[in-house]
Each structure stands twice: as C-alpha cells, then as structure tokens.
C-alpha cells in the first residue's frame, strides 16, 4: 500500500508498504528518518517515541496505515531549520545525559512534551513523565539534570520574552 503523511513538516510518501509494518519501520527504513530507535519494538522502552499529531506515541505500536494524512514529528524535527539544537537537545548534551545515546531520541521527544505541558515539573513529575523511557547507561541522574536544566532555560526564555 501507499502511505502519505507529514514528517517534520514535510510531506512524505512511502510505497509498497506491507500492511504489518509499523510507523517506526516506515520512518527508519522507507523515508530516511532513522533517528527514532528500535530497542524493543513492543512499546516497553520508549526509544521510538515520536509526536503523532502532537501526542507522544511509541511509533513501534502504530501501524503504518494509521498515519495516513497525519502529522508526525520525530527527533530529527527538534532542531531548527539551520540545524541549531533545540533547547531540550542542548540541555541533554550539556548535562552529560547522553552516553550510548540509543534511548536519547525517545527521551528528547518525551521531555519536550513534558515541558510543553509543564515548564517547571517537580523531580517526581519528571520521573513519572519519563518512566516509560528506559535508559541502560546513565542511571538517569544526568537525565534528571538535563530536564531540570531544560526547564530552567525554558523558564528563563519565557521570562525574557
């Protein structure tokens, strides 16, 4: 089948899609967006998290056909058009929250969504919001630091605007 949708603001089209393919597979193998990661492909690890019409979802659990005519935003869409890192991305780099980095794309999208709805989350709010995103390297402490840093910068930016 053919699937057409919007990925990071651009229209994309995938042909010869087998009905059983996931959105994750289509992104990674058919439309050249491998940033979303394939760690468990059963909705347990959050590494493949993308926005589907502004809601974070595990793209491995979304059938490709379900995204017809919808909008998808992936980790590749978090930087601006000039390739400048987004605020959450920069905070993850600065805080040392990236080791192997395989969990990072999903955590970035999930953190972006968290700060969008609550720019100043408590530590427990952060832990609750990110509890569906597994990381095996960091022990999460630097990820907590990164989210706190991104939160502080978000609030600073809001105050200066």
């Amino acid at each position: 089948m053919r699937v057409t949708f919007t990925a990071n603001g651009k229209p994309v089209e995938a042909d010869d899609v087998w009905e059983g393919e996931s959105l994750l597979y289509v992104l990674r193998e058919r439309v050249g967006l491998p940033g979303s990661k394939n760690a468990c492909e059963q909705g347990e690890c959050g590494s493949c998290t993308v926005y589907l019409d502004d809601t974070p979802v595990c793209s491995c659990l979304v059938a490709a056909g379900q995204v017809q005519d919808r909008e998808v935003r992936t980790v590749e869409g978090l930087a601006d058009e000039n390739g400048e890192l987004g605020l959450v991305q920069q905070a993850f780099v600065d805080a040392g929250a990236v080791q192997c980095g395989f969990c990072t794309p999903g955590l970035l999208v999930q953190t972006d969504a968290l700060l969008e709805r609550d720019p100043q989350p408590s530590d427990t709010d952060i832990r609750e919001a990110l509890s569906g995103n597994l990381c095996r390297c960091t022990g999460y402490e630097k990820i907590m630091d990164a989210v706190r840093l991104a939160s502080a910068r978000t609030c600073e930016r809001a105050a200066s605007e």
Binding site: W18, E29, C40, E76, A79, Q99, T124, R136, C137
Partner: protein, 786 residues
C-alpha cells in the same frame, strides 16, 4: 629566577588556561550533537541500496539431536535469496573467544534454547520471518542438563559436549576451574583459631546486559572477494580473528568498521550476527543487514553467569578475620565464551577487599544446556561480592559490631597482599571509601504527613499510602581488577596525526577502540589536547585499518587505549620538537607544546606550531602494553595475575512495603577511587550507571530459565530499572593516583556494578530482618509466600 623566566611562565599560564578541554576537564562528547539530532548512525541504522535482510532460525529446545533440516519450502518463498545451514560454511565451523567450541550454525545437535540452526536472506524482514518458519527441522529432543548435580554427574545425565569433542582443558561438564590456597588454607587447626564462624549459601540469578541497541550490522561483499562489515561490537579485531577462519578468508579481506553502538556491558564481547551476515552477503553477492528483535537479542548474546556459592568466614572476638573458605559455582551454559576468565576473577577476587590470613577457594564454571554466559560488567567479581558482603554483615551481627567498622578493621590497604600473593602496590583506600559513604548526609526520613505515593514502593501503582513501609540502611564495598589478567598481553594501538588545517594545528586520533557510550572518544580528544597543546582534535572512525585497541571491557579502555593515545601523542610532540631543534638550533631542555605554540618554561613562546609544521604532517602509531602479569597456578591460585585493582563503596537506603514485598531504593550513595578523573562528568556518569545496573540485579533483573528454556525474553518480563525505580545517586570521587597507570588513572566502569548490589540487599535485611540469600530479591522472598 630571572625576570624573563617569570614573564615566560606567566605567558604560559595564560596559554594553559585556554586548554580547559584537556584531561581533568569535562568537555562535551564529540558525538553528542549527532546523537541528540538523531543523526548518529547506529549499527541498526545502516542501509544499502538493494540490501537484503538476514534472519536466523533458532532452536526451541535446549538439548536435541538434529535428525534433518529441510530448507526446500523456505527457498520457494518469493523474495528469498538464500537459505544456509552449516553445510554452507566455507571454512572452520567453530569459533569462540577463548575456546573454539561454538558452531557458527548448529551441527547435528543443539545445546541451548535459541541456538542458531539456519539463516535466511530475503528482500524484507517479514519475508525472511515467513521463510524461517518454513524450514523444517526434525529433532530428537533430549532431557537438558541444567543443574549443578546433573552437570557433575555426566555418567548419569550425559555430556553437553561429548568427551571426544572437548576443545577445552576442562573435563566432564566442567568448562574451567581454579583453586586458591593462601596462608595455611582452611584446616581444623585454622578453624580452631577463630572465635566466631559464620556460614552461608548464596545465589545470584542470571542477569542480562540489556543494552538498548539490538545486535545488528550490515555486511557488504567487496570486489576482491572479501567483505566489509559495519558492526556494533566491543572489539573489532577479535571479531575479525574469529570470523576470518569461518569465512575462509584471510584477515585482510575481512574489514570491520565500528557502527554506532547502543550500549554493550559485556554482551557484545562475543560474536552474535557477525558471521551470519557475512556468510549471507558472500553467498548472495548482496549487502545483508541483520537486526535482532528484542526477544532474539536475549537469545543472541551471553549473560552474566548465575552462581551458587558457599562461604565460611572465621574471625576473632575483636573482629579480625582469620580465614575464609569459599566455593563459587558458575553456570557457563552451552559454550565457553569468557567462562575461563570469569572463573579466574571469581577465584582471585572472591574473598573481597579484605586482609584474610588463610584462604581456601574454588571457583568452577559448568557446561550445561542453559543459555551461554560470559562477559557482563563486573565479570566474575559481582557474584562473589554478594557472597562475601553478605557474610560480612552476618559476621557483624554475630560479633555485635557495626558492619562498617568490621569492614574497616579488615580492609586491605596499599602494601597488603592479595590471597594470590600479589602485593597491592598502589593506593587502596578501602576503609576511607566506606567512611565517606557513611559520613554523607542521609536522605530525610519517611514523612507520612507529606508523602507523594509516586516515591513509595509500588510508586505509580498507588499500592501504598505509607502503611506497612519500613526503612533500612545497608553498606558494602567491592574489589575489581582492571584490564585483562593472567598473563594476557592486553595491548592497545593508537595513531596520532598532527597537521595544519585551515591555519590551525589539528590533531587526529585513530584507534580501533569501540566507543560503546562510555565516552572514550571524549577522553582521547582530551589526551591529544593535553599532550599536543592543540584545541582542535578529530576522532577517526574506528576500524581494522589500525592495530587492535583490545576490548572495551574490563574497565580498561581509558587505561589502555587512552595510554596508547598518550604514547602516540608524546611521540608526535617529540618529533615536532626535534624538527624545531634541527631548524632553529634550540638548546632548551624543557620544550613543550601549549596553546598551539612551541614553548619553553624558561624562554616562553619559541614558535607557533603552524609555522614549524608547515605543510608536513606528523603521523605516528604507538602500542601501549601494560605491565606483564602471569597465569594463576592452577592448584594454589598464586601469581601476579592482575594489572590494577579498583574499589567502590556504597550505602543504600531503602523503603520496603513488608506487606506487598515491594522495595523502593530511596538513595544509593557511592564513593570510588578513580586515581585521576580524566573527565569528571563522564566518571560520575559511569559510576551512576554502574550502580543502577547493580540495583537491577538486587531487586529486579533475572533471566528466568526453567528446564533450559528462557521464560522472559522481552522487556515486558525482564525488568530493568526505570527512572522511577532509580533513586538519586550521590557520588564521591577520590583521586589517589596509581603510579603504574597513565596519568595515575584507575579504570572506573565496573567497580560500582560489583559493589552496589549487596548494599541494597543489606538495607532490605536491615529493614525486614530477613536472611535474603538470593538476588534478585523478589516480593515473595519478602512476604514469606515463596
């Protein structure tokens, strides 16, 4: 000191401040931006026009004879390009890290659940999946050999590898054994010297590395008949060494390039899909990609050895240890993998970081029909630490002593001897590390008035509002070796090139080091900056065009490959200075490179590096060998076996819901001596990550194997700590330099994974009063419903 010298030094001070990104600083990862943009190419992201997808058929039985394999129906599936069995292997059919006992594809029998039997290459992963299902295998299913008792009685239960097949120096179903005796050993006379004796039996479940990036890679056949493999691994050269004979290719025709690695933790030390992808690529003449699904990943790599251990410790009334008698049985599973080295570690480190005058130890690894076990972070030291630290707590109770004071009283220090006879010849601040975690402020007590259920045991499940919750505190300390031991010449190679690019001096570092997330690439750049006085450093992709960097394991890469980068950079620096001496006739003896300039402490700046380099590039390669070690004597365990030791201490605070058997680790504190923190941010990240994997082993993680079959090959059923399960992890980093090591550094990655598990179990014991002789601790162990 002349005015000119003082001025020269002041100038140098200013220049030096500019290079804050050298060693001791925390510059950001060179791959960080790519990783947060989703542009870093991991092994599963590899793509090639016209590539095929490879997939393996795996055995549903842990032990069976293969009577026939019929691939004819699979070959008929449209889109299938090849179906291969062991008959299609052009070269040697066996491989292995230490003992070549594992067939690349099963030959006539399978020895564990999930063993690969046949391979398919197809145009789509679903086509491959369907074709795999059409391969017909006729099995004669046999009763698996799975328990220690069965393994040690092959006359009754049979052999995992028939005696004539033995490729190891083991015997029966024993893959490897190591004994150790020190002092007087453990005799009745020695026992009589102790006022108090405690005994215990302990078990450690099978832990999985559970790295997030699945085993994957892309094999591309080349025109010269060879193959290029883009792969996530821990050691490119040892992969190639095992692959080339199976592919019947000379090593130079098997070229490996490191693709992005999504974590490793020991699980990528063995081959997984490397040979399979290359066989399919060479057979079809097309690029072949293999990506394991998560369930296949659980079958596709070795795990941490489950262990059963018996310990007996004797001490005087005032708490001095008199003897330790230990037996550690590790289940190695079907194939040897790294079992011999794991046994060596268990035997030589299994008494812990304590001075014990009399020790008797035996460690063995069994062959069984359980999943193969090999390297995982902590490597043989983890299981033992749970045993000896549990014993220390038991002894403290028996003696009525404080558990930290008992440990400190017996803690080893620099100058003491290991039971192997090896003297500890660098700092070993074991007692101080314990004191530091003890002195750290405690988290606030449980406040039932203002609690947030999300922070309690059960968390988001909302299972408790504070009722039935008891707090406990526990301590532990552990010892781990750094680098490969027992006489192995564990060298690393580095190539450093210095040249002018865009008007600036730029260093390029080229090694075969597997960056698996630990940050070695950051450290390499820092070393080059420090040694060459440059700011701009590029890291060449890791591949087999340069010499071996050894494995990214054993906490060794900063020590070994970092050491090689240091040697190569020093050689480049010397070459540049010699060039200057020849050109300018400098007589100064203290010339060095700082801030892009050639400088002398006395004379200040001599010349900018760009002027001296001109169009020439200085490109030198050096090998770094650590000091030699020797194998342990097989019977006595004596020998200078280890390169370096590393120590970490922990304090755990836990809340236990004693009614539901749920545990929340409230805080996990660590203090570790790292010799010299080359990158403090990364060092702390390693310690926190290591502690969290230890937390997983303490209360969550186990591959459940029943009658040889894996019952929980998914992240739904094999639970690793989430951010809600993981507490704040305050870290106290000590820097006591090791004079034998580059910059005085000590390997960092593994010690916390060794030491932290027993502190958590000690805290749960402290809260509940239960004995808890097995990890992971499960709810049924706490509620008495087992």
């Amino acid at each position: 000191m002349s005015a000119r010298t003082i001025q020269g030094q002041k100038n140098l001070q200013d220049i030096r401040q500019a290079s804050k990104d050298g060693i001791g600083g925390s510059p950001l990862r060179p791959d960080g931006n790519l990783k947060v943009k989703g542009e870093f190419a991991y092994s599963s992201d590899m793509w090639h026009e016209d590539m095929l997808w490879g997939m393996a058929l795996r055995s549903p039985h842990p032990r069976a004879n293969i009577l026939s394999v019929d691939i004819s129906e699979a070959l008929k599936v449209p889109g299938v390009y090849a179906v291969l069995t062991h008959d299609d292997i052009p070269g040697t059919k066996y491989y292995g890290l230490e003992i070549q006992d594992q067939p690349a594809l099963a030959i006539d029998k399978v020895r564990y659940h999930g063993e690969a039997i046949a391979l398919v290459a197809a145009d789509h992963p679903e086509t491959a999946r369907r074709a795999v299902k059409k391969i017909k295998v006729e099995y004669e299913v046999l009763t698996p050999i799975t328990t220690e008792e069965q393994c040690l009685d092959p006359e009754t239960h049979g052999y995992v590898h028939e005696p004539h097949e033995y490729k190891s120096h083991g015997s029966g179903n024993i893959c490897h054994s190591q004994k150790l005796v020190s002092g007087l050993g453990v005799t009745d006379e020695v026992r009589a010297m102790a006022d108090v004796i405690v005994k215990g039996s302990y078990e450690v479940g099978m832990q999985d590395q559970a790295f997030l990036g699945p085993e994957s890679g892309l094999a591309v056949p080349s025109e010269d008949g060879g193959v290029d493999l883009y792969i996530a691994t821990q050691w490119l050269h040892v992969d190639r060494q095992q692959m080339a004979p199976v592919l019947a290719l000379p090593e130079e025709k098997v070229r490996l390039t490191l693709a992005g690695v999504g974590g490793a933790f020991g699980g990528r030390e063995d081959l997984s899909m490397q040979i399979h992808a290359c066989l399919l690529a060479l057979h079809t003449g097309k690029p072949v990609k293999i990506v394991y699904a998560r369930d296949e990943s659980f079958f596709g790599h070795v795990h941490r050895h489950p262990a059963t251990m018996t310990y007996e410790h004797g001490a005087t009334r005032d708490g001095k240890l008199v003897f330790a008698d230990c037996r550690i049985v590790l289940d190695g599973g079907a194939y040897a993998s790294a079992s011999p080295a794991v046994v060596g570690n268990a035997a030589s480190l299994g008494h812990g970081p304590y001075v014990i005058p009399n020790v008797r130890m035996e460690a063995i690894a069994l062959y069984s029909n359980n999943p193969s076990c090999g390297a995982m972070r902590g490597f043989g030291a983890v299981q033992a630490c749970f045993g000896y630290e549990s014993q220390m707590d038991k002894l403290a109770v028996e003696l009525g002593m404080d558990p930290v004071e008992l440990r400190q009283l017996n803690a080893m220090a620099e100058g003491d001897f290991m039971p192997t006879g090896q003297q500890i010849d660098s700092p070993a601040p074991v007692a101080e590390l314990l004191q530091r975690v003890k002195d750290m402020p405690l988290p606030p007590p449980l406040d039932l008035e203002h609690l947030d259920v999300r922070t309690l045991p059960g968390a988001l499940s909302n299972t408790s509002h504070g009722e039935g919750i008891v707090r406990g505190i526990g301590y532990s300390v552990g010892i781990k070796n750094v680098g490969f031991s027992e006489g192995f010449d564990d060298y690393s190679t580095a190539r450093v090139r210095l040249e002018v690019i865009g008007g600036e001096p730029v260093a390029m570092v080229h090694t075969a080091m597997a960056e698996v997330g630990q940050g070695g690439v950051t450290v390499h750049a820092q070393i080059a900056r420090t040694e060459l006085g440059v700011e701009q450093v590029t890291i060449h992709p890791a591949n087999t065009e340069v010499g071996s960097a050894g494995s990214t394991s054993a906490s060794r890469q900063t020590y070994m490959t970092g050491g090689a980068v240091k040697l190569a950079a020093e050689a480049v620096r010397q070459a540049l200075i010699e060039k200057g001496r020849r050109r300018y006739g400098w007589q100064h003896r203290d010339i060095t490179l700082v801030g892009g300039k050639v400088v002398s402490e006395g004379a200040g700046v001599l010349v900018p590096m760009v002027d001296l380099l001109g169009d020439e590039a200085i490109d030198l390669t050096r090998e770094h060998h650590h000091r030699p070690t020797v194998p342990f004597d097989k019977e006595t365990g004596q020998g200078f076996g280890h390169v370096q030791y590393t120590f970490c201490a922990n304090r755990a605070v836990v809340d236990v819901d004693v009614e539901l058997g749920l545990v929340k680790v409230v805080e996990l504190t660590a203090a570790q001596d790292v010799g010299k923190a080359l990158n403090p941010l990364s060092v702390v990240g390693q310690i926190q990550g290591g502690c969290t994997q230890a937390l997983g082993l303490a209360v969550m993680e186990e591959i459940v194997v029943k009658d040889g079959k894996v019952r929980n090959a998914s992240f739904t059923d094999y639970l690793i700590p989430t951010i809600l399960d993981t507490p704040p992890i305050p870290v106290d980093v000590l820097e006591r330099p090791d004079p034998n090591a580059p910059y005085g550094l000590r390997g960092v990655g593994e010690a916390p994974t060794v030491s932290a598990t027993p502190s958590i179990v000690a805290a749960i014991r402290n809260a509940t009063g239960l004995a808890l002789n097995r990890v992971p601790v499960r709810p049924e162990h706490l509620t008495g419903t087992l």
